[in-house]
């Protein structure tokens, strides 16, 4: 593989954890819940998935464990914010901080001062086709989970756009009182959205630790969870837009190493900024059209109905 092929392949892979976390956050946002704790959920998913694979040898078990821990955190967040009307901001920040601290603590408790690494075991089902020039490795050279994740995002996009469940979810975030008046239990929808959404964030963390890098290290998400929140907003809670933004972020991130191999002399501080500048540009360009759910971040009190 040459540098361009490597860059493209790495970008598609790097987009997966971010895309899953951002789509998960978007599901919550559509229902009116803003969870700032994605970073903590991703770390929890990453750690639990790593432990599951390390103990069982099964990547599937790891992915399931990552999603499960995300779902549990999402359920707690959903109950606390939607049923008990706790501040979503405070809860989210608490989850982010607790996730960072707790995962570091439990990792150290379990592994002491060692740093176990996973064997590169996940299969690449269509890697025979990756000989195609330039785009071959990016399209065909991945582990099976990468394809599953992209397919999952398309499925979620279709569900949100074409099914009654998707419509109810959007209505819950835009007009909770009207939705309730139509006979829908807003609280239940929001709890379900938080659970499903954060399951995806946990799965994103799992993808990072067991699919992308093959080990867990405390703080390994290095801000991906926070970027996911921004992408969910800039992508207008649309999974396909979010997926493309995540891919663009991955490509921009991969530009740094590639630029350093050229004759151009660019300070590393600037290279670090490229993906964030890219997101900022997108925020400015697309931001004017960003339409957040009307009730996003607002606690729902049935009795406060106007």
């Amino acid at each position: 593989m040459n540098v361009l092929e490597t860059l493209l392949q790495a970008s598609v892979l790097a987009a997966v954890p971010l895309m899953l976390a951002a789509v998960g956050e978007a599901i919550g946002q559509r229902s009116g819940l803003l969870n700032l704790g994605v970073e903590g959920v991703m770390l929890a998913g990453a750690l639990v998935a790593f432990i599951a694979v390390e103990t069982s040898g099964s990547f599937l078990a790891g992915l399931a464990a990552g999603a499960l821990v995300g779902a549990v955190v999402g359920l707690l967040f959903g109950v606390a914010s939607a049923r008990m009307a706790a501040s979503q901001i405070v809860l989210g920040l608490g989850i982010a901080l607790a996730g960072q601290g707790a995962t570091g603590f439990f990792f150290r408790e379990r592994y002491g001062l060692t740093q176990p690494l996973l064997e590169p075991g996940m299969s690449r089902p269509i890697s025979d086709l990756s000989e195609v020039a330039v785009v071959g490795p990016a399209l065909f050279g991945h582990k099976w989970f990468v394809y599953a994740a992209w397919a999952g995002v398309f499925l979620i996009a279709a569900t949100l756009r074409f099914t009654r469940a998707g419509l109810l979810l959007t209505a819950t975030g835009d007009a909770p009182f009207a939705t309730e008046a139509a006979g829908v239990d807003v609280t239940r929808v929001r709890v379900a959205a938080a659970t499903a959404g954060q399951a995806l964030a946990g799965l994103g963390g799992a993808a990072l630790s067991i699919v992308e890098v093959g080990f867990f290290a405390p703080g390994m998400t290095v801000g991906i969870g926070f970027i996911a929140i921004a992408l969910a907003m800039v992508g207008r809670q649309d999974p396909l837009r979010i997926a493309l933004l995540a891919l663009a972020f991955g490509v921009l991130r991969g530009l740094g190493p590639a630029i350093q191999l050229t004759e151009w002399r660019v300070r590393v501080e600037f290279l670090d900024m490229i993906p964030y500048i890219g997101v900022l540009v997108l925020v400015v360009v697309l931001g004017r059209r960003v339409r957040l759910p009307a009730a996003l971040g607002v606690a729902y009190h049935r009795e406060a109905r106007p």
Partner: protein
């Protein structure tokens, strides 16, 4: 009145001619019962942070000193941490990062607690601040010699998780060693991020990129990020034939008994034991406030014997280079600043790869 004036004159005279003229009294001798170390990253990263912590913990056990470890302190203002450690009775605080160059001397000045800083010789203050320097460029030079002799593609790469002085010293040393050995060797240089010491995903992508550019020996300076480099190499090696495999040169910690051993060519190892023992001795004898340089000669830094098979000729050439450095026949460039390093790398003769 006369007696008081006489006493005053006597006091001034004693001050002027006594063994320690006024204002130049030696630092107080301090029995070190408790020492602390603050590291920016994890103490289990088998790199910079772990090596510092392990050395102090070992010294603590040997000398009966209680040791406090604060890890993952990051690069923000660590003054509250230093204040807590001082309040807990730390007689000496080791600030184990070049990122703490300012905050620690200021704290020592303000609170009177002795500190050790990294790569900041200007901060050395009698009784308050000592500095540890690493002349790791000499050992990195040897690693460069080995890399140039062992590469099959004619391309070697340096992947660094930042541009702190320690990494820059080693990059320059490695590049010089490789080029002095074989000017036709291409030396690639890629930095993962400004302070990407734990950014394993990005480390992995960066390493994949330099492998794609043809590098088959990678000199990786990462701390936690090193594991991203290692996984990139493992996955590459699992997919190619043996003669296309990539080998890794690590820094600071010894990973030769881990999963890396299969492709670990060598390591530039650091041992802080000599430095920390010296500083504790200095504090106890009232001589604190000096610079300790870890180098080839005092074995503060050294090259790991290759865990994998390398040719006899390579070993002989590395040993010859080591001897030449110790005898002063080879002068290894010591470059701390990122811009200066960029100039140095730009001026290297172009490789053939």
């Amino acid at each position: 009145m006369m007696r008081r004036r006489a006493s005053l004159i006597l006091l001034i005279l004693v001050g002027l001619v006594g063994p320690w003229p006024l204002g130049l009294a030696p630092a107080a001798q301090t029995e070190v019962d408790r020492a602390a170390i603050v590291t920016p990253g994890s103490r289990s990263n088998e790199g910079w942070d772990q090596q510092g912590v392990d050395a102090l913990v070992a010294i603590g056990e040997e000398r009966g000193i209680e040791v406090d470890v604060v890890e993952n302190a990051g690069y923000d203002d660590i003054t509250p941490i230093l204040r807590d450690l001082a309040a807990d009775g730390a007689d000496l605080i080791i600030c184990h990062a070049s990122g703490y160059q300012t905050v620690c001397p200021e704290f020592a000045e303000r609170e009177g607690v002795p500190v050790v800083v990294t790569e900041n010789p200007e901060a050395v203050t009698e009784g308050l601040v000592s500095d540890v320097e690493t002349e790791a460029q000499e050992v990195a030079y040897l690693a460069g010699v080995m890399a140039a002799l062992e590469t099959s593609t004619g391309t070697v790469a340096v992947v660094a998780s930042g541009e702190p002085p320690t990494w820059n010293y080693m990059t320059a040393g490695f590049a010089a060693g490789a080029k002095d050995t074989d000017p036709s060797v291409e030396v690639l240089y890629s930095v993962i991020g400004e302070a990407a010491y734990d950014d394993a995903p990005n480390a992995r992508r960066t390493t994949e990129t330099v492998i794609a550019a043809g590098a088959d020996v990678i000199f990786g300076m990462g701390d936690g990020a090193s594991f991203g480099m290692i996984q990139a190499i493992r996955e590459h090696n699992a997919a190619v034939s043996q003669d296309e495999e990539v080998r890794f040169i690590d820094v600071i910690g010894d990973k030769s008994d881990s999963d890396v051993a299969d492709f670990l060519l060598t390591s530039v190892l650091f041992d802080y034991t000599g430095a920390y023992n010296t500083f504790i001795d200095n504090l106890e004898s009232g001589d604190f406030g000096s610079i300790y340089t870890m180098d080839l000669e005092n074995e503060g830094v050294w090259l790991l014997e290759p865990p994998i098979e390398v040719s006899e000729e390579t070993i002989e050439q590395v040993e010859a280079a080591e001897q030449a450095i110790l005898e002063g026949e080879i002068d290894v460039p010591a470059i701390a600043e990122a811009d200066e390093l960029a100039d140095f790398l730009e001026d290297l003769p172009e490789g053939d790869a």
